[in-house]
Amino acid sequence: MSDAPALVVENLSLAIGPAGLVDGVGFQVAPGEVMAIVGESGCGKSVTAQAIMRLLPDAIRQTGGRILLGGRDISAIPERAMRAVRGQLMSMIFQEPQAALDPLTTVGSQIAEALRQPLGRVRGEVLRMLRDVGISDPERRIDQHPFELSGGMCQRIMIASALISRPAVLIADEPTTALDVTIQAQILDLLRRLAIERQTAVVLITHDMGVVADIADRVAVMYAGRIAEAGPTAEIFAAPRHPYTALLLASIPRLSDVPKSKLAVIEGRVPSPSEYGPGCRFASRCPRADARCAAETPPLRPLGDGRLTACFHAEAMA
């Protein structure tokens, strides 16, 4: 793993009308590394991914921050140049592979398209890629249409088409959420192997702490448009220092807990962007919150063990 990050997101802020959706999100991903962004629905994971790809819907504006790809700031380059970046330097896969694939085009032609070549010219390369993503009988599959394939196979096709041009960065937005657990395990193994073999920097977006534990080298936990805590996966899971991370982990039923025991609960519900107020956005649900938490925004600060935590009481959590 080389040290220069493949992707740097700096202080990214996004808004819709007057409401801020994402506030000062930043992270880096090195070649061959899997970085997970985890959080409950609506916390801003997908819009962050769309902003990195410069694929934000019209209603959402980037109000601050930079995105560096291989050291180059891509946040302001023209759309024409951005089109060359997408697919060549940076690719994205989604939750619903069937919806992302063109139903009328064969699997082989869609993968060849990522190379901007007719299938005839790159057939051998496409077959190799299909084999590499674990598609059995690639000679037959290459000429099939997406509807002839299962969800798991379609996700493999998406991965093949995203990675065949050897991009430096892969953004995977809930790539296994629609799949069954046995298929999910296969796809996660595949992503990990390809990240290492091809030295791809992977940003993996998920709501599932189990997926993070399985595959991520580092993790950023998001809450209400901000990063609550980020750092090496092992450290964050072993000793969460943000009350939200701690409660989230304690609220999940585990194969090792006492059946029917009371699970930790986070009272209330996730706020929507129009309800984001001053102070820590978790304050209204946080058992440790005091007057300062409600008034001031806790900065995301290093705690000295490679992690960053945005909580005034992080030291007390140790």
Binding site: E40, S41, S136, S150, G152, M153, D180, V181, T182, I183, Q184, A185, Q186, L188, D189, H207, D208, M209, G210, V211, V212, A213, D214, T233, A234, F237, A238, L247, L248, L249, S251, I252, P253, R254, L255, S256, D257, P259, K260, K262, L263, A264, V265, I266, R269, V270
Partner: protein, 314 residues
């Protein structure tokens, strides 16, 4: 008497290509009073079809479904209506389960009103008590579903299901549409209600950790059949069927140390179509252990220790 007794249940749907879809193809299970039985398996294995047949929403193609001793297969309308009061269902999606034009008080009180069990002030009082029982307030009764979050709506759906004090609660993926933090609230509520009312529950989920948390016994389904049924601790500590083992190995556990040390049980290929299930053991096309016998001979459903298993090699 068991609260639920299902024997040799088959539910087939007309298929597109002529062959019927054998959604449920020979399922037997029972639930004792006060017991919670988990039904797990991957999507399309027939869990919802079993649930729907249990509350009389689907009629069996073959076999028997008895709730409190009363047969649902071929039952008259009146019998079905009487049984539905005893067996209530909670669905996955709390948004589509509630009529947006009814106040939640009307929704929760409807089963009582329709059956002439309460009205006026007595109904209001019972509705208020039901709402409080699921962690809402009595004065929420005049509000509409859209004024509530997903988790609160699932509480409303549960209050409605409890209104008739059913002997059997059928929960089909009751927390699958909810976020993690809300899921814990609803699971705690379900465990608490079970303890308080002692009702029997059929708890359907694709999530093995959730099922372990709330159930006493667990049935694992694959392609329309149950492959293993065992007491909870037995099933999780000593899974016997190769499919149960593979499922447990595939659950991503929220602990990097355990998760990364876990041996993978790679399953070949994909789940076959229930319109054309494989001969012999239905799992043989994906089973890491399959031998020639598995490809031709159906494994018998037989007791092994405290479990029931269908596998030649167990």
């Amino acid at each position: 008497m068991n609260t639920l007794e299902i024997t040799g249940l088959k539910v087939h749907f007309p298929g597109r290509g002529g062959a019927p879809v054998r959604a449920v193809d020979g399922v037997s299970l029972s639930i004792a009073p006060g017991e919670t039985l988990g039904l797990v398996g991957e999507s399309g294995c027939g869990k919802s079809t079993v649930s729907n047949a249990t509350v009389g929403l689907l009629s069996p193609t073959e076999g028997s479904v008895k709730v409190l001793g009363t047969e649902l297969a071929g039952a008259s309308r009146e019998t079905l209506r009487a049984i539905r009061a005893k067996a209530q269902m909670v669905f996955q999606d709390p948004v589509t389960s509630l009529n947006p034009r009814m106040t939640i008080g009307e929704a929760v009180g409807e089963p009582l009103l329709v059956r002439g069990l309460a009205r006026g002030a007595a109904l209001r009082e019972q509705v208020g008590a039901l709402l409080e029982e699921v962690g809402l307030r009595a004065d929420h009764a005049s509000r509409y579903p859209h004024q509530f979050s997903g988790g609160q709506r699932q509480r409303i759906v549960i209050a409605r299901a409890l209104a008739l004090r059913p002997a059997l609660l059928v929960c089909d993926e009751p927390v699958s549409a909810l976020d993690v933090s809300v899921r814990a609230q609803i699971l705690n509520l379900l465990v608490e209600l079970q303890a308080r009312h002692g009702m029997s529950t059929l708890f359907v989920s694709h999530d093995l950790a959730v099922v372990r948390h709330v159930c006493d016994r667990v049935a694992v389904m694959y392609l329309g059949r149950i492959v293993e049924l065992a007491p909870r601790d037995e099933l999780y500590s000593e899974p016997r069927h190769p499919y149960t083992k593979a499922l447990l190995a595939a659950v991503p556990e929220p602990d990097p140390v355990t998760q990364r040390a876990k041996p993978r049980v790679p399953l070949e290929g994909e789940i076959p179509s229930p319109a054309n299930p494989p001969p012999g053991c239905r799992f043989h096309t994906r089973c890491p252990l399959a031998i020639d016998r598995c490809r031709v001979e159906e494994p018998a459903w037989r007791p092994v220790g405290a479990a029931m298993v269908a596998c030649h090699l167990v």
